[in-house]
């Protein structure tokens, strides 16, 4: 150790948490003016969504970013949440580590009680300006307006104004922060954050006014309240001694036995007896009187006894529909050819905190083939846009060998290449992050392992698709053979020899084993008459359902047709009309259902997202 770095008179000086973060703001993610803007919006939006979700409210959010001068912006975020009690306000916004959820045992977006206060602190530090908060609870006549900052030395709120105001909103909270910031709209921007958040929160209506006076509205496309996590008692297995001690100290139970049964989840009286006899602790002892030694024995005994897995009520996955929306938001107009069924792992436990992983993906179609796959990361329903390299999700993808599943990957590690968008959501109670700014999931072995297991399941799904599409490619070649090449051989050989063109149907039925769908169209005005021909070149009788989708115009009458018992070598014709066709009619797109895709040429399997709408964004002036 060198003596040089140490001042001879140094003695430890106690600094407050606020002072510490003021000097180390990168730890909270406020490391550049660009990033700071993103963090402020993110913290406020996450809080609003948590509050609405917990209270069963469909979120209505308003965000405005206005330019004050060269490098300062005023950021306003308003929600229709339950509002915050007047007495709570100073602590929630003006004291670091004051979190209502800090000790709650459930999955939520925010958890440490740092985020929004850090935003207030950042604004104060960079502009000298306090923040402004208006909040109103349902049923109250008036709202309260606060102007406050943080007393950095003592980590206490510094309230400058507290006054009742009239607010025409039923309930909700609005926060206005002025901060040094830089605005941009590309990757890792506030706009991208809003878009990815909107994608997986389709029940949110978000109105956004940007600094240039443009308004963007992310429409609510689903009226359901998202599946919310319930608060549960701590899961005993894996808790640290200190945590058990803390709970024991707080407990109002009279005996250890009651304490175990009443203050933890999954412990029945029988299990409690087992634990205590294992640990050699008197079941009648008061929880507050337990020695550290006894608690340590109880902790070890909990591992030996068979405690059922943690309750699932405290976890809230996206579920299939929201995952599809999240993916749809990324691929946009580029239609993939395959939509996977999302993979949902059974919950696991990390440090006695239940967590789980879900994975969804889309593949092929218009997605670029020669680029790295896209990884869309979410943790507790929050999109992760920064620190990809440090994140457990990225690491798990890179440490998985994707080659057996049909992706290109040099050496079997690293980000693979291929037309794949992968959405990975890690959710749970107290997810470990790499930093306080919660930008990346910490790559702890247990979580990495679970993500990898989910990825492998997804990989197997991808492989099955590859095998099927290979069969389909072969079928497509047959289409070409039957519909184009054989007729050409017949025509060309006949014309060269100066003879009549032979009938090739017998030859076709020798090579083809497919249903073959083509159409004839005729247009008059803006109406198109379509005759769809369905040939059965297979050897069996076929029944299935055909859906006609005109890319332009409107189909008259039904767009679904039942094809019943079409015999081998027979043809059936279906007539329908398409109206309001302006310009050229590019031909009908046909989908089918109820038959193996390898048998059908000229139509696609009905996509999984058929008639599911994506996020709707309207752009206009504010």
């Amino acid at each position: 150790m060198s003596e040089k770095g140490r001042s001879p008179h140094s003695s430890p000086v106690e600094i407050s948490i606020s002072e510490f973060f003021e000097k180390n703001r990168h730890i909270l993610g406020f490391d550049s003016p660009q990033k700071a803007l993103y963090m402020i919006v993110k913290e406020a939006l996450d809080n609003s969504l948590d509050a609405c979700e917990e209270n069963g409210i469909l979120p209505d959010i308003y965000i405005r970013i206005a330019k004050v001068d060269q490098d300062r912006y005023e950021i306003t975020i308003r929600d229709n949440g339950p509002g915050i009690g007047r007495k709570e306000i100073p602590n929630v916004f003006g004291k670091l580590l004051y979190g209502s959820r800090f000790h709650a045992y459930k999955q939520s977006r925010g958890q440490q009680g740092i985020g929004i206060t850090a935003a207030v602190l950042y604004g104060q530090t960079t502009t000298g300006k306090p923040s402004e908060i208006i909040t109103k609870r349902a049923g109250d006549d008036v709202a309260f307006r606060f102007v406050l900052g943080i007393n950095v030395k003592s980590n206490t709120p510094n309230v400058m104004v507290e006054e009742p105001v009239i607010w025409d909103q039923k309930s909700g909270t609005e926060i206005k922060i002025t901060a040094r910031a830089r605005y941009h709209t590309g990757k890792q921007s506030v706009v991208e954050y809003m878009r990815e958040t909107a994608a997986v929160n389709p029940n949110m209506e978000l109105t956004y006014d940007d600094p240039d006076g443009n308004r963007m509205v992310f429409r609510r496309v689903a009226d359901m309240i998202s599946r919310t996590a319930e608060e549960v008692k701590p899961y005993p297995v894996g808790l640290e001694i200190g945590e058990i001690k803390h709970l024991a100290g707080q407990s109002s139970r009279k005996t250890v036995r009651e304490f175990l049964v009443g203050d933890f989840s999954r412990i029945t009286p029988g299990i409690a007896d087992e634990i205590l006899s294992f640990a050699g602790v008197d079941i009648e002892k008061r929880p507050g009187k337990l020695t550290t030694e006894e608690i340590s024995r109880i902790k070890d005994a909990m591992r030996k006894v068979n405690v059922p897995p943690p309750p699932l009520r405290c976890l809230s996955p996206f579920g299939e529909i929201f995952i599809r929306k999240g993916l749809m938001n990324v691929y946009g107009d580029l239609k993939p050819s395959f939509y996977s069924k999302p993979v949902e792992r059974k919950p696991s436990v990390y440090n006695s905190n239940p967590f789980s992983v879900e994975v969804g993906f889309v593949y092929g179609g218009d997605l670029p083939v020669d680029q790295q796959i896209r990884i869309v990361r979410y943790a507790n329903k929050v999109p992760l846009l920064y620190q990809a390299g440090a994140c457990a999700i990225t690491r798990a993808v890179q440490e998985t060998d994707w080659r057996p599943y049909g992706l290109e990957q040099r050496g079997g590690n690293g980000t693979p290449y291929g037309p794949l968008i992968l959405l990975v959501h890690v959710y749970g109670v107290r997810i470990p992050y790499t930093s306080e700014s919660k930008e990346a999931v910490a790559p702890v072995p247990k979580i990495l392992e679970e993500i990898k297991a989910a990825l492998r399941t997804a990989g197997r799904e991808l492989k099955r698709y590859h095998q099927k599409s290979l069969k389909r490619k072969k079928a497509y070649e047959k289409f070409n053979l039957v519909g184009v090449m054989l007729p050409e051989i017949a025509r060309k050989s006949a014309s060269l020899l100066g003879r009549s063109v032979p009938d090739i149907d017998p030859v076709i039925s020798k090579i083809a084993n497919v249903l073959f769908i083509t159409e004839d169209i005729s247009k008059s005005g803006d109406r198109v008459s379509v005759t769809c021909h369905v040939f059965n070149y297979t050897k069996q009788i076929r029944s299935f359902r055909l859906v006609a989708f005109p890319p332009v115009g409107n189909i008259e009458g039904t767009d679904e047709f039942n094809i019943e018992k079409l015999e081998s070598s027979r043809r059936i014709d279906i007539d329908f009309q398409v109206s309001d066709v302006k310009g050229n009619y590019p031909g009908t797109i046909y989908y089918f259902k109820g038959i193996d895709p390898i048998h059908v040429l000229g139509a696609e399997p009905l996509p999984a997202d058929w008639k599911v709408s994506g996020i709707e964004v309207e752009v206009g002036d504010s």
Binding site: E477, N480, L481, V484, M485, L486, E488, I489, A490, K492, S493, A494, L496, L497, R499, P502, I504, P506, V507, K510, I511
Partner: protein, 365 residues
């Protein structure tokens, strides 16, 4: 080898008849032809050249590849018949470009169109000259005391002596060297030396090697064109001259020798017109590299693969070649002809070739 146009037409039409007939009979159209791989070449005892064996491959319209092949074949036949009727001819490259307009019959590369033309030769037992198809001039040339008559564009046979009537570049070998185009009048030489590279050909010319050792020098220009090989064959049979091949010392050059001596795998159907079974290889051998301590390059992975594949090639199944290939694999080294310049510009003509040629018994020292 002169065949009437009427017969050519009939043979080509009969190929299309086969396809049409299959369709009429409700059968999947199909053409079969000898497999043109090294696994299907056999020694023709009578002519001592390698020819295609009895393995057949089928091109059947039950796959898109097979159907595409049949369509292309019909287009090529139609194109040839049109040329015959209008008295035109075209190069293989021109045909490749013309196929742009053939829709499903379009070729994706020139090697594909060349292969189809060769297949037609195999199936019809005709030569592409009969089809009015010819290769590009490839610039291979001859220097030496050889007198020939070549028919020019006006149809007049013009006499040329390949030593006195040509410049340093020599006499350019035309694309066809058949009797109706080129007549061999006389030659005064002890042997023919066929040389792979232009650099070495020029060195021997500058050093006056042809006059000094009484040789006809032929520049092969890499893997020799058909007409170059055909001319070597005619010099060998009509003037009774031994043919000696002089190439780089690497696996690809060994293949050049094999195609001169035994016939190329791609053209094994006409080996008896092209191959000179008595041709001998003077070098550079793997042994030469050691004996003369020549500057070398390391064998690439690709080279090693080529050598290993030659060990399985029936044309190289002789004690001499097996031992040479194994030595090269063992030393891992290859050398160019010009590596001989290590010992001076004259070394090749005053030392190396005289020594090696006398070992072969071609000259007496």
């Amino acid at each position: 080898m002169v065949i009437l146009q009427k017969d050519v037409e009939m043979k080509l039409r009969s190929i299309v008849e086969k396809i049409y007939g299959d369709l009429m009979a409700g059968e999947v159209p199909e053409l079969s032809l000898p497999s043109r791989t090294k696994n299907n070449i056999v020694l023709d005892e009578e002519n001592l050249v390698w020819r295609y064996g009895s393995q057949m491959v089928s091109r059947k319209a039950s796959s898109t590849d097979g159907a595409g092949y049949l369509i292309k074949t019909i287009y090529v036949i139609e194109f040839i018949l049109d040329m015959m009727r209008s008295g035109k001819s075209s190069t293989l490259r021109e045909m490749y470009y013309i196929s742009e307009g053939w829709n499903l019959g379009k070729f994706h590369s020139q090697s594909e169109s060349n292969l189809t033309a060769e297949d037609l030769e195999v199936v019809s037992n005709l030569l592409r000259e009969d089809f009015k198809l010819r290769p590009e001039e490839n610039g291979a040339s001859v220097i030496g005391n050889l007198t020939i008559e070549e028919r020019n564009r006006k149809g007049i046979f013009k006499r040329i002596n390949c030593k006195d009537d040509v410049g340093d570049a020599g006499y350019q070998i035309p694309y066809s060297v058949e009797e109706d185009k080129l007549r061999i009048v006389s030659g005064d030489a002890d042997f023919v030396l066929a040389i792979e590279t232009g650099g070495m050909f020029d060195r021997l010319v500058e050093n006056g090697f042809d006059e000094e050792l009484n040789a006809i020098l032929v520049h092969l220009k890499g893997q020799p064109a058909r007409s170059t090989r055909r001319l070597l064959k005619r010099l060998n049979t009509e003037l009774n001259l031994p043919v000696i091949v002089f190439t780089d010392g690497d696996p690809w050059s060994f293949r050049i020798f094999a195609s001169v001596a035994y016939g190329a795998i791609k053209t094994a159907h006409i080996s008896q017109y092209l191959a000179v079974p008595t041709a001998e290889f003077v070098g550079i051998t793997a042994t030469d590299i050691l004996t003369y301590d020549l500057p070398t390059d390391r064998l690439s992975e690709h080279d090693v693969d080529a050598l290993n594949s030659e060990l399985k090639d029936p044309r190289f199944n002789t004690d001499f070649w097996k031992s040479e290939i194994e030595i090269m694999l063992k030393t891992g080294k290859k050398a160019e002809q010009q590596a001989l310049a290590k010992y001076g510009l004259d070394f090749v003509t005053t030392e190396y070739l005289p020594e090696k040629l006398s070992q072969l018994g071609v000259i007496r020292r």
